[in-house]
């Protein structure tokens, strides 16, 4: 195998797929990136057996087709530090020679045949969505997923296509984010589409992969896998097994108290009110009345903070506590200048909305 690559394009490719590789994997081949030089392109593949990415780099010149496995970390280091515009990669009897103008690296390869087969999906996509739209939906939900919950469904994001609307939903059991978007075309009868839970890691990688907002992303589902394909990459992932909680049941249907405020101002008020909170602080106390909102917090070590926030509030006075970090998380991703916060009682969930496509349910903290 011999191929000459544009260094910048190769580095970008390695950045995207390098994150899949688990450097602590006990299997040597799983620490590697697979290179397949064919026709007019170099295909780079990586997998941790959970998520797999295949990325086509077309800014290459194929001298001799072939395949090899290179250790991902060393390969990426060499390409990152390279001062050349192009790098040539040549494999001669299980050794890869990476050459620049003044450098020559010889690294030991692993046999390409030992690399686990990449999942293959036949047929066409179940639906399509633009890269920009998908990226926004991921950004508006992924943060709310749990990190390492024993309830596995919380460690992923639920995907639902309903009434020709694409929904992503994530929860860690204390707050829930729901974002809606428009798929370009739903090929299958949507009733036949399963409702997969996509692991957080896969969506993190997918977010990095989506660089062009205009590109079309195909989404295809099987019973236990999902595939996202862009013009030059595919990402496949196993699905999270488990039952996603009944998210529809916790979306507050009616509320008799409602605040409306500028997103930026509300974010600023919460950030300031939470400056003195610590791990032990129970949260920020929010007292709503006709005149607006008083935010206050207290921490035994540092002191107390009060912020008087002018906003529109309809309904009976209420005092409720929230974890400020949960509110900040949502206000950072809401794509609207104005948000509303609907409340019912101090021990009932609040519902934040930004525009028509973003809903965020948040459970209060007990202030006592």
């Amino acid at each position: 195998m011999k191929v000459i690559c544009n260094r910048g394009a190769l580095f970008e490719a390695l950045n995207v797929i390098g994150n899949v590789v688990n450097p602590r994997s006990p299997k040597e081949v799983l620490k590697c990136v697979k290179l397949s030089a064919m026709d007019d392109r170099l295909v780079l593949s990586a997998t941790d057996l959970e998520v797999a990415i295949r990325y086509s780099d077309s800014q290459v010149q194929i001298e001799t087709p072939g395949e090899t496995l290179l250790p991902a970390d060393k390969f990426r280091d060499i390409v990152r530090e390279s001062i050349d515009d192009t790098i040539s990669i040549e494999v001669i009897s299980e050794q890869a020679h990476l050459r620049g103008n003044d450098s020559h690296f010889k690294i030991y390869t692993q046999p390409a045949s030992e690399f686990p087969p990449m999942p293959e999906f036949g047929g066409e996509a179940d639906f399509q969505v633009t890269g920009g739209q998908l990226k926004q939906l991921i950004g508006q939900t992924l943060f709310a997923a749990a990190k390492e919950s024993t309830r596995y469904a919380f460690n992923g994001v639920l995907l639902v296509v309903k009434n020709k609307v694409l929904h992503l939903i994530a929860t860690d059991g204390r707050r829930l984010a729901l974002a809606k978007g428009d798929p370009i075309g739903v090929k299958k009868n949507e009733k036949e589409l399963s409702q997969p839970i996509i692991p957080a890691k896969a969506l993190n990688l997918l977010e990095k992969l989506l660089s062009d907002p205009e590109e079309t992303v195909g989404v295809q589902l099987t019973e236990n896998q999902i595939m996202f394909s862009t013009p030059n990459a595919t990402l496949t992932s196993n699905l999270v097994e488990g039952q996603f909680p009944p998210y529809d049941d916790v979306l507050p249907k009616e509320s008799d108290k409602k605040m409306t405020a500028s997103t930026a101002d509300f974010l600023s008020a919460i950030k300031r009110a939470s400056l003195l909170t610590t791990e032990e602080s129970k949260g920020v106390r929010m007292a709503f009345n006709k005149k607006g909102l008083v935010l206050s917090s207290r921490s035994p070590e540092s002191g107390e903070a009060t912020v008087n926030f002018a906003c529109k509030f309809e309904g009976a006075d209420i005092e409720i506590g929230f974890n400020p970090a949960f509110l900040v998380d949502a206000l950072r991703v809401v794509d609207a200048d104005e948000i509303s916060l609907e409340l019912t009682a101090a021990n009932r969930p609040g519902l934040m909305k930004g525009g028509n496509n973003f809903s965020y349910v948040i459970m209060p903290v007990n202030l006592q």
Partner: protein, 389 residues
């Protein structure tokens, strides 16, 4: 002044000496002194038989020996007393989450507001005494009053095995004739200084104007002024630093069958979880303790994430630890114990989706706690015969 609070003071009678008499029948009815029997030894406890001869705790052993040459002198076993002490505190824990141990054999229990759950305070006080006697074969003197000072005073008025109530309306009858040294904070030195101004009884002290007391005793002046009128606002503060909650059982004869031990383990787990919930704490670690016939003792611990106060979770962990041990190296068991440690507060953050199983278990625990609080601790228990986790 009314019964705005209900405080019980529990004081074990001649604690160390009574324990020794309990454990060695040949000592019963005889004068017993616990303490180091050397030239500089001091009496730690004197049985009531020895007190008739004038023996007292804190006396030099040489003097006590002269007063009562027939006394049996024992070196004492602090570990044993400590263990029994925690058993006493565990019993008191069943009556209120507010238990403040003030020494190895004394504690305050705040019974305020428990009347509806536990019954009239006088009956509760009687039950506490019976409970200690039944479980530990030891007697306690208890005092019942509206504050700590009066409760402690009451338990001291009628020893041993007494139950004394100082009702708010009795304060002005009971206090005046008592010696000032009965006041909390008045030791021999202060008593002497008070005697200099002609104050010998609490009644005398009541007549001294506050500014005079302030002048003579500084901050303590105000304290004496309130105490001699039977006023004391100190709260019963349970040991917030309580690092663990545990129960253990020693068997009359070593248990040969794992199933028999498991049957006990489940009850111990229930008790521990119940106390956790009463203290509004969650535990991160569950420890099982096993002692063999030869006193060799092993402990096995497991960490729980997230911290829990559910009986089922604690029993599950204890049962797993036990099964693992029993599967590998079962030997007849003399003692088995369950304890929880690394205690935390329940999370303030409310849940959107409680775990369905956890929700069921919590409902079950709440229902069982309500029944057991109303009808007694052992009214409703998990079946010992079930296979379990």
């Amino acid at each position: 002044m009314g019964w705005d609070r209900v405080i019980l003071h529990v004081d074990m009678d001649a604690f160390y000496a009574s324990v020794e008499q309990r454990d060695d029948p040949s000592l019963r009815g005889k004068p017993v002194l616990v303490g180091h029997d050397g030239n500089r030894g001091v009496v730690s406890a004197a049985s009531y038989e020895a007190r008739k001869f004038g023996c007292r705790s804190a006396q030099p052993m040489s003097l006590a020996r002269r007063l009562c040459p027939a006394a049996v002198i024992l070196p004492g076993d602090m570990k044993k007393y400590q263990r029994i002490s925690s058993q006493i505190m565990a019993i008191l824990d069943d009556y209120s989450p507010l238990v403040e141990p003030i020494s190895i054999d004394e504690a305050f229990v705040d019974l305020t507001g428990t009347e509806r759950l536990l019954g009239p305070p006088f009956e509760v006080a009687t039950r506490v005494k019976q409970h200690i006697l039944r479980e530990l074969s030891l007697t306690a003197s208890v005092g019942l009053a509206a504050n700590k000072f009066l409760a402690k005073l009451a338990s001291d008025l009628n020893k041993p095995d007494g139950l004394t109530v100082i009702a708010p309306e009795d304060v002005n009858v009971i206090l005046p004739p008592l010696d000032v040294s009965k006041l909390w904070g008045v030791g021999p030195k202060t008593a002497d200084r008070l005697a200099e101004v002609g104050v010998r009884t609490i009644g005398d002290l009541q007549l001294v104007p506050k500014n005079v007391l302030d002048q003579r005793f500084g901050e303590l002046g105000g304290h004496f002024h309130r105490l001699c009128r039977g006023l004391d606002t100190r709260a019963v503060t349970p040991d917030q630093q309580a690092k663990s909650i545990g129960h253990e059982t020693t068997f009359g004869a070593d248990l040969d069958h794992p199933e028999d031990v498991r049957a006990v383990l489940i009850h111990l787990s229930e008790n521990v979880a119940w106390r956790l919930r009463r203290h509004n704490r969650r535990a991160k670690t569950v420890t099982v303790k096993i002692r063999y016939g030869d006193f060799q003792t092993i402990t096995r611990a497991q960490t729980l994430t997230p911290p829990t106060d559910l009986t089922e979770s604690i029993w599950h962990a204890a049962s797993q630890l036990f099964n693992f041990w029993a599967g590998q190296s079962f030997r007849p068991v003399r003692l088995v114990g369950v304890s929880v440690s690394q205690l935390t507060e329940p999370p303030a953050q409310l849940c959107l989706f409680e775990h369905p199983t956890e929700r069921k278990q919590r409902k079950l625990d709440t229902a069982m706690d309500a029944i057991n609080t109303k009808y007694g601790k052992h009214a409703l228990r998990r079946g010992a015969g079930r296979g379990g986790a």
